[in-house]
Symmetry: C2
Subunit: 246 residues, 2 copies
Amino acid sequence: MQRSLFQWPRRTWDQQGGKYMESSCGSVLWFTGLSGSGKTTTAQHLYKLLKAEGRSVELLDGDELRTAICRGLGFSREDRLENIRRIAYVANLLSKHGVTVLVSAITPYREMREYLRKHVAGYVEIYVKCPLSVCEARDVKGLYAKARRQEIRMFTGISDSYEEPEQADIVIDTVHQTVQDNVLHITEKINDINHLAFSGGKLGLAREQAAVGKADKIGKTDKADKGTRGATGSAAGVGRLPGGDR
Amino acid sequence: MQRSLFQWPRRTWDQQGGKYMESSCGSVLWFTGLSGSGKTTTAQHLYKLLKAEGRSVELLDGDELRTAICRGLGFSREDRLENIRRIAYVANLLSKHGVTVLVSAITPYREMREYLRKHVAGYVEIYVKCPLSVCEARDVKGLYAKARRQEIRMFTGISDSYEEPEQADIVIDTVHQTVQDNVLHITEKINDINHLAFSGGKLGLAREQAAVGKADKIGKTDKADKGTRGATGSAAGVGRLPGGDR
């Protein structure tokens, strides 16, 4: 299978024309990492950037999807796999219609990510790297404390494993880099390989923000961005499952 | 809430301009009816017509969705409701990005359809009317026979109720009308109210097919169209649940 990183805009080889053609399909940028690592925060920043560019873009948040299409699934290995398969199904449906899809979900097992690489068209794996100790110190949702007190069981990093990605397309560091730096890194990384411009204006803006160094680290922006979380239209209009994705 | 029938292309009132503006959102055409009534067959014909017009269109089939995002749900009232809520969630996501969504799902309870009318943007309810006796005589999938032998329980029409729609936007008759007639009826019905052209060419084709009277009744076309059923991209690539939607 062709490496997905070359697919933003995805390209297919036109046999007759003897050149690459832009595909009308979108890409699926999948953020994997521990709870509190900064997946959603980074995805939200990238979402805004792509949106401002006029792209058709959707942010699928693991927590929201748990409520919307995965009610009843628990946190056993099999249930977690099913959870990821369903998100993949929805991501594929959107991508098929030209939507760039950002997914923020822990996706803790290697098996899941192998599944995604195989079944999700235009899959780009972004590992949001952050040590457990830092995630736990941030503990934005207070879940690590609960997990330590065993009020939550099967919590990734504490009582369930996170198998570190070994072949992520992009790795970002949310401890030493700002959100702006990371978003810039993602866009550049894709562009470098793609040899296709991410398009002038907004990339310039990303560079500018990174240069100014508005040091938005995860803990801070997570709170500041709370209001923008519902980027995905919620049909059910119901609340989050207590604890959400874990 | 504004009647959804006026929303294809959906229109929103532009206060400043003092006129209706076309919305970039798609509509959700929801086919409800008994198993074997002709929901999927009709939806497939309409799908092809819209596709040929260059529209971004998706067909969500109740059977396929049962496997893709509803595995584990049964046929109790609560599970059936959850099933419909999930399809609605996916339909909304697609519609939000300008996709015209056709849904083929039994949707047996009034409560469900009230939910949809309230929560699905651009919802158009199409009641695929066909007497139980005719559906049972067709029995394309052999499910009615199984239900009569009680090998399948909680089967709509036999051992679970189908509450006839009382406020469907469009009603089609699959006993006395051909598929072509019905598709034409749907497009005309929407256009009549919308006062917006469904656009020349393909509507002409639909008229022509209806006039020629290629008498494709449901039993026949259901079989003939088997190969085109997988209009929805299946991420999981897994088979149908035995029995599917019921």
